[in-house]
Amino acid sequence: MLAYADRLEGDGIAAPRSAEQAARLAAALGRLIDQVQAEGLAFERLADLAPVEYAEHWGLTLRFLAIVTEIWPAWLAEQGAVDPVVRRDALMRARTLAWRSAPPVDPVVIAGSTGSVPATAELMKAVLDLPRGVLILPGLDLDSDDAVWAAVGADPAHPQHGMHRLLDGLGVARGEVTVWPGVAAVTASAGFATGDQRAGMLREAMRPAATTEAWRRLATAPSLDARAFDGIRRIEAPGPREEAGAIALLLREVLETPGRTAALITPDRGLARRVASELERWGLAVDDSAGRPLAESGPAAFLRLVAALAAERAAPVPLLAALKHPLAAGGRSPQGFRRMVRRLERRVLRGPRPAPGIDGLRRAVTGLDDGLAEERDGLLAWLDDLGSRLGPLIDCVADPAVPATEVATAHARAAEALAQSDRESGADRLWRGDAGEALARLFDEMRDALDVLGEIPGRTWPGLFEALLEGRAVRPRWGTHPRLHILGALEARLQRFDRVILGGLNEGIWPAEAAPDPWMSRPMRRDFGLPAPERRIGLAAHDVAMALGAPEVVLTRASRVEGTPTVPSRWLLRLETVARALGAETAFRPDSAPALWHAELDRPEEVQPSCRPEPRPPVSARPRSLSVTRIDTWLRDPYSIYASRILRLRALDELDSDPNAAERGNAIHQALDRFVREHPRDLPPEPLARLLDIGRDSFAEHLDRPGVWAFWWPRFERVAAWFVALERDRRRELSSTATEQKGRLTIDGPAGPFVVTGIADRIDRLGDGGYAIIDYKTGAYPSLRDLRTGAAPQLPLEALMLSLGGFPDLPPGEVSSLAYWRVGGGDPPGCIDAVEAGVADLVAEAEAGLRALVEAFDDAGTPYYAVPDAGRRPRFNDYEHLARTGEWAAGEEEG
């Protein structure tokens, strides 16, 4: 089916553009074929369905369907195979035939079937004709009056509609059906004294729409009153989480009484999962017997991650996701493997993305230059090993045309290789358990189907794999808990529990949303002979009605899901209306107690908000030296200094980080510095070209990224033009210029000398002997105002250093200008913010401030506050979460 996409395209139909889309379309087609065959209809009749005026639009669909339904039977005949539905029906018909021709004399019982599948109904009819054949029907309503029963036949959404059809098909009148002996005794012994009332009330609630005026007369009905709602409770939870919590509590409550059983019945697997995990709070392991999606099981998730890794050529995030999966062991013990993964992450993956593939990682590791040769070699050996396990798959996926079976095999092999540990083989670890076995079966099935697909572009494999995983569920083989159960509607049939909880009673979940039919409109389906979607609603209604027969029933729903208000299930609304008619509104009012109790479970006795941290380390632990840029941080947020210098905590870079503005700034810095350093006196003959060359070198490592090339480089070109023009004018007044000068300054503090270090970007000596200190900035921070008011002490402190001879290559002297040269490349590309008057005052102020700071912090009682003045918080704070700023900073104004 997937292979005929090109033929479709030839016909002008928007064909599925990829194998993945084709797989989904194929699944939908498969469902259609199953339905049509189950009803015993023929595809040939399709052509007559649409009236003439719609013929063209319908013709498109017809061509699509005919292509598939002509080619498909032909292919089946070629393979000597048959559709699964056809086979199932053929088996049942064969059995029917066998029994009709040679009826067995032993008893034959068919119990619990609703006969919704036509072939089953035929079998049931045959059993009826056997000498000792018995049909036991589940949940047939024997007591409603004939007018209602007749109306049921016309209403497919009614819970008894299926039974009505079955009886019609069997040729049995309702009056001929007797109650299975012993049922009355069972219901009485289950403490079900109000049984008659409950059944009667349900009958009323589920009335066919055409007869619902009778609800008016309920108030004066002889056999029904408010007691009909005894044993039924309702819970309206604000959201799915609270709903699950309340349900879990109710299930847990049942365990308090020995011997009682309870079940949650719901078609909503998400709710089931939530309840199961809530029950773990009490150490209860209750499996969801309706199963969970295969795609979310451990082994399947591992396979998906490995496929994603290959598709992205070992980019940092997919690589780590796969390598950190519990199944990944790469031939070592899982702990040893994980250690290597963390090492790789710390050294190589944090920061900009390395080159693609395992080779790129090797190159990045060899490029590490900070000692620890042993560690580097260990990493390289480990990477080589990893490459041998994953390499074949990565190559396969990169191949533009590769046979689908080859990719699938390579995928399985790579996953096995990666899952291999030091003690077990990969196959043992991967295909283990219910989920692993289901996966193994899937791969087997896939092998034949993928043969037909031929060659596909390798990079579509991950998507195709996901599409093939869809819709498959893993059911646990053993029920884990003896008294508590979580079931889907189908499994819950014919089981008895003391307390039944029906969860997820929202319209769209229970009854399920009828997906719009992609092939035919409703009238077309009816004409073709396919069952109406309402029939499924009727079957679901039957399940609900049966479940509502338990001694204790709880109906729950969530009133908001993901922020959207929900609509209650139609059956809940019916029950509500009947309750009103019977005067039982208070009995049927939602009970908020379980949800409240659940909220109480997690509520602490009292909430203690954390307060502002005030660490006071001993003076011996406090830093004795800082750089001038850190002095600024020391002023604004001492806690950062505490965390970085005393606790020695440093924030990790982002994984796979984009080059950010800081790196742009660095690159521009470097280029300008190098230019000035290489040409301290006279400018070269073509200064702009030379500067651009230097810039290309400096930006080299980033220029691969299209964003850098498109946006950063043009900025640099503008900055260069501005800079060169500026230098031309400036050089006339300079006597010398120096770049990247390291300076130091020692202050005597109460606890000893305190050293301040700094690197000045550029120091120019002017013609009159004074100095100008220049700092290149690519942003607007700090502002000129900050400089003038002393909030940015970096330049004044450098000036102090200079005046005291702290710069070894520069004779001490007075500073007459402090300037920021803003070289961001925007508009204007560059500008100068300078302070030329009052520099001496600024310097004196900075010195005094520095001394005061050192004195204050040399006292063991001075705490390292976090952001003492909210108006002067630092621009970037790696330690905000460590100081838990959000918890105590509430109410303080933004600066």
Partner: protein, 219 residues
């Protein structure tokens, strides 16, 4: 607002007129545009109109109501259902009053019986009475015509995160293509057109302008 019992104090002329206009707007025989401030009863007019349509015999599955938000759709649905549920069980005089207020005339007995049955009829309507958002309606259309739309039947809407990822990929692809083209012609001339730098909210953009800083400048 729609009561007119003789035992109640007379309504002011303004209210009477408002009631009349609402009733006119709820008459399904006319196509109507209603503009009104918040809380003045627009949803009620809509619900009344729906009820009139249903009482006049329209099949519920042939009615389509489109709203802008999911919350509005849910609210309308709930309001409609509670009105209909009330009609099913309430005493006859009250029902008569309600129906009279809706249509402006005394309803015949058949209409009363129909009103009683409407609740369950709407619940059981094949496909349901559609009150949905425009997005949901469009989505259901796409689901019903997969071949024409070229969209496979089981499609899901991309959420914000998926959209952001797709957008980033598209941007990278465009820039890469532009670069390949520029290298081919050997001129960077086209780049002079890229004077603007897109600012994406919430991301330290690799192309932030020389405006408010997003990262400390390292000196």
């Amino acid at each position: 607002m729609s009561m007119a019992g003789s035992s109640r104090p007379a309504l002011s002329p303004a209210l009477v007129e408002a009631n009349e206009r609402q009733r006119a707007a709820a008459d399904p025989a006319a196509s109507v545009w209603v503009a009104a401030s918040a809380g003045s009863g627009k949803t009620k007019v809509l619900t009344d109109r729906l009820l009139n349509l249903l009482l006049d015999g329209a099949a519920p599955e042939r009615l389509l109501c489109l709203t802008y938000t999911k919350a509005a759709a849910a609210e309308m649905s709930t309001r409609l259902q509670s009105r209909l549920a009330a009609w099913t069980v309430v005493a006859e005089p009250t029902l008569l009053e309600d129906l009279a207020a809706l249509s402006g005339t005394v309803p015949p007995q058949a209409r009363l019986a129909k009103a009683r049955r409407l609740f369950a009829e709407v619940l059981d309507a094949p496909g349901g009475l559609k009150i949905q958002t425009i997005h949901a309606f469009a989505q259901s259309l796409l689901g019903r015509f997969p071949l024409e739309a070229g969209v496979p039947p089981g499609f899901r809407l991309a959420d914000d995160r998926a959209s952001a990822v797709l957008l980033a990929e598209a941007e990278a692809a465009v820039l890469a293509r532009a670069r390949a083209a520029a290298d081919g012609t050997g001129h960077g001339g086209w780049r002079r057109r890229w004077r603007w730098s897109p600012r994406r909210p919430g991301r330290s953009s690799s192309a932030s302008s020389c405006g408010p800083p997003s990262v400390p400048a390292r000196a």
